[in-house]
Each structure stands twice: as structure tokens, then as C-alpha cells.
């Protein structure tokens, strides 16, 4: 008799441990699933995981709208309209958001206003709350097995949504830092462009050309993003060059050219205190190097960083096709001819080639 009891207990323990093991494996999987900074990806993964783990027909992730009390659909699967907006003030929705606890409604039509979520019979609501504030909520509806929601379903959903909320919060924080960084860059560029006449718009155009070349060469998304920042900041060192030289109407003297020639190094030095720019410092420092080694620092060929070689062509093209205080601009065909002549001397031939094929694909109307 006693032996039977022990066996029964053991059996129950194994079942219980099995559930814990299931949860543990889920946690391992989630940490991989949510290790991205892309909020859309996190939400898609969250919906898919909830559908698979809890076994439901419908799942949706709703985010709270910053200003007012509505929730909009961010990701969904099953019987849910992707454009659906939900009023956060509705009693049972507000309860879930305020109390921060999941709630299950086995007969949804009994609590909700008629046709609130058309077609959904049993509904499980779970808040999405990070360390800071509530981001939104998750809705699961109608188990594939036609069963009711069990306490274990609620537990699993809670595990998934807590992990997801933290990942989303991280992604938002990261986004904030990135915006701050980009804002800083734009302020730097503004500071430079407002003090000299001819640089207005130069940075922006060089960036467009440089990214065109990068696209042609086939750089990956991350490299393109770094090149974009590098292009935006490539002339930042000109802040330190006397205004009267930059704005001089007569052709420049040798000493004045030498003074202007300091700007790549000055730019790199100014930015060297900011860790976020570590990988673009050399790109800025060497953007006036020549392929044949006759540039400012005497770097040659592929010893010059690729970013700098791209910038050199983009920068020269814009300089030649823009008016300068001391000379008028050249037309586009003349400029292209000159760049081609300098290929292999001042410029990397493969970059020049990429620039040519990019520019030939552009509509002439958009070019200078």
C-alpha cells in the first residue's frame, strides 16, 4: 500500500518536473528568439511563439499609443484585423493594464460589449510590461484543442511576454541612443555649414554619392550605415579652419591650401573622444589620400580605408560640380571626364567604376 503511494508520488513529481523542464527549455529558446534589437522582429516572434507554445488559433500584440489611451495592433496571427485599434479605457482592458496581471475569459461575450472582438470565444489577456512602464498587451484567443485556458497556459504566456517586454524595452532604449547620436551628428554638420557659404548642402550631396557607390560595390547594410555617418562628418574638421580662408574669393595661396589640408586630421581628432565614432575616424582622416600615394599622409592603394576611397570620389565630384568663392562650377560631363582621367592616380579605379555605373543609372534631372 505504502509502496503504491510512493510510486504515485514519484509519478506526480516526474510530471511536475516535466512541466518545469518544458518551461526551462522555453526560457532558453526565448533568450535566443528575442536577442534582436528589431521591434518588429520581436513582435512577430512573440506572436508565433505564443501560438505554438500555448496552442491557440489567434494571437495579437498591441502597443499603447504614447499620447492617448488607445492600443494599436503591432503584430497578429489568426482571426485578427491587423488595423484594429482597441480602446484602452474599456473596463477589462484597463484592468489588465493597471493590475499588470494576465486575465482569462472563458466566455468572452459575457464580459465584453457585443461584438467587441468579433469571432473570438475564449480570450486570454496579458500585459506587456518592462522594467519601466507598460508597453501594451498581448491577446490570445481560442485554443486549437477547443479546451479552456488552464493556469499553465497563463504561466507560459507570462514567461513569454515578460521576456518579450524586456527585449522591446531594450530595443527602444537602443533606438533612443541612436537617435541621440544622429541628432548630435546633424548638429555638428549644421554648425559647420552655417559658418561657411559654400559648404551648404555639400555634406548631404557627398553622402548621397558615397552611398550610391557603396550600393554599387555591394557593401552590407551595417557598412552602409557607418559610411553614411562617416560621410555626414567627413568635413567636420573645417570648423577649425579660419573662416577667411574658407570664404576667400581669390584663388588660394599654397599656405592657405596647407591650412585647409589640416581638416581631415582635425576632424578625426575632434571626434576621437566619442566612442561611437571609433570605426569611422580613419575614414575621415584619410579622405584626401591619393590612390598613387601622393596625398596628405602618403597612404597608397588599399592601405587607404575603403570609406576614404569612396569619399574621395564623392567629395571631388561634388566640389567640381559646385560653385566655389574663387571659381564657377564645371558641368557634369567635364567633371566625369576629369574624374576618369584621375582614376588610378588620385582615385581607386574600382570606386571610380562603381561611381560611373551608379551615376549612369540616375536620372539626369536629379544631378547637379
Amino acid at each position: 500500500m505504502e509502496n503504491n503511494n510512493v510510486l504515485g508520488d514519484l509519478h506526480l513529481t516526474v510530471r511536475e518536473l516535466s512541466n518545469v523542464y518544458e518551461e526551462l527549455s522555453l526560457l532558453y529558446k526565448l533568450s535566443e528568439l528575442f536577442s534582436t534589437l528589431n521591434v518588429n522582429e520581436i513582435c512577430e516572434n512573440l506572436v508565433n511563439e505564443a501560438v505554438a507554445t500555448v496552442g491557440v488559433k489567434t494571437a495579437a500584440v498591441l502597443f499603447l499609443n504614447g499620447g492617448n489611451q488607445t492600443l494599436y495592433t503591432r503584430a497578429c496571427k489568426g482571426n485578427w484585423d491587423k488595423n484594429r485599434i482597441v480602446d484602452g479605457g474599456t473596463e477589462f482592458i484597463a484592468d489588465v493594464l493597471e493590475q499588470g496581471k494576465p486575465m482569462a475569459f472563458c466566455k468572452f461575450e459575457e464580459v465584453a460589449p457585443e461584438d467587441y472582438f468579433p469571432g473570438l470565444k475564449s480570450v486570454l489577456l496579458c500585459p506587456l510590461a518592462g522594467k519601466g512602464k507598460t508597453i501594451g498587451l498581448m491577446i490570445l484567443a481560442d485554443k486549437s484543442s477547443e479546451n479552456e485556458f488552464y493556469s499553465n497556459d497563463v504561466k507560459l504566456l507570462r514567461v513569454i511576454s515578460t521576456q518579450a517586454a524586456m527585449a522591446i524595452e531594450n530595443a527602444f532604449l537602443y533606438q533612443e541612443i541612436e537617435d541621440l547620436l544622429l541628432g548630435t551628428i546633424k548638429s555638428f554638420v549644421k554648425a559647420l555649414e552655417t559658418t561657411t557659404q559654400w559648404t551648404a548642402g555639400h555634406t548631404e550631396r557627398v553622402t548621397i554619392y558615397a552611398l550610391g557607390i557603396a550600393e554599387e560595390i555591394g557593401l552590407d547594410e551595417k557598412q552602409i550605415e557607418r559610411l553614411r555617418i562617416c560621410s555626414l562628418l567627413h568635413d567636420i574638421g573645417k570648423i577649425a579652419i579660419p573662416r577667411d580662408i574658407l570664404n576667400k574669393k581669390e584663388p588660394l595661396e599654397y599656405e592657405e591650401w596647407m591650412e585647409i589640408g589640416r581638416h581631415p586630421l582635425v576632424g578625426a581628432t575632434i571626434l576621437s573622444g566619442l566612442r561611437a565614432f571609433d570605426d569611422i575616424l580613419d575614414g575621415i582622416k584619410y579622405h584626401h589620400e591619393h590612390w598613387d600615394g601622393k596625398g596628405l599622409f602618403g597612404l597608397k592603394g588599399k592601405d587607404i580605408p575603403l570609406m576614404s576611397r569612396i569619399l574621395a570620389v564623392a567629395d571631388a565630384f561634388d566640389a567640381m560640380t559646385s560653385d566655389r568663392p574663387y571659381r564657377a562650377r564645371k558641368n557634369i560631363d567635364e567633371t566625369l571626364k576629369e574624374i576618369l582621367e584621375l582614376s588610378g592616380k588620385q582615385f581607386d579605379p574600382s570606386v571610380v567604376e562603381a561611381f560611373y555605373s551608379w551615376i549612369n543609372r540616375q536620372h539626369r534631372a536629379f544631378l547637379p
Binding site: 514519484l10 509519478h11 516526474v14 510530471r15 518536473l17 516535466s18 523542464y21 518544458e22 526551462l24 527549455s25 522555453l26 532558453y28 529558446k29
Partner: protein
Amino acid sequence: MSKVMIIDDEPFILMMIEDKLKKAGIKVITLRESVNAISAVKDEKPDLIILDWMMPELSGIDLCKMLKSDPDTAEIPIFMLTAKGQEADEQLGIKCGVARYITKPFSPKALLSIVEETIGKQ
């Protein structure tokens, strides 16, 4: 009735998989030692073997090699249980004829569905 043999030195893992598969109507044979496994496999002729990689005396991978080189047992599909972070060994396992890799901690539910999928195919 399909028959699955599980070989693992951890009793809890054995009990847990046994419980899950039995509930689904699969016959289960468990072994806590790998040393005498060859003769047990020959006697029982299971449809599938679930092996733990890390076992004292004879490791899962060595046992797998032995089973795959014996014509009597070579055709039996083998699932290998490995610990998290051992993924690098997967290539070695695949070379030795492992059909599926199961990383611990695994989901018992997911394991059952791939077991059913594999023995259903035969």
C-alpha cells in the same frame, strides 16, 4: 506498437521522456548504462534510439559509431541528447549518422512530436 529505447545515465531525464512517450502510446525501454547497450539493442530491436552524448565509460557518440557499423543495428535512427553549448560537436555526430540533435534543456512536448514524426515515417 512502436518501440523506443532511451539510454541516459540521468534517471530524471529517463523518467521524464518515458512518461511523455508512454502517455502517447509508445513502448519505452530505458537503460541507465551504455556498456551493455549493444546486446540490449539487438535483443529489443527498437524503432528508434535516444542516446545521451555524455555518459561514463562509453559515450553516446562511441556507442552510436558501434551501432552504425553493425549491420544488425545500422538502420535504427538515433537521436542524440547534448548539453547547451556543445553544438560544435554536431558535425561530428552527423558524420557518425545521428538523425536528430536534441539540445538540453529540451521541450518534452517538442521531443514527442519529432519522435512520432520519425517512427511514423518507417
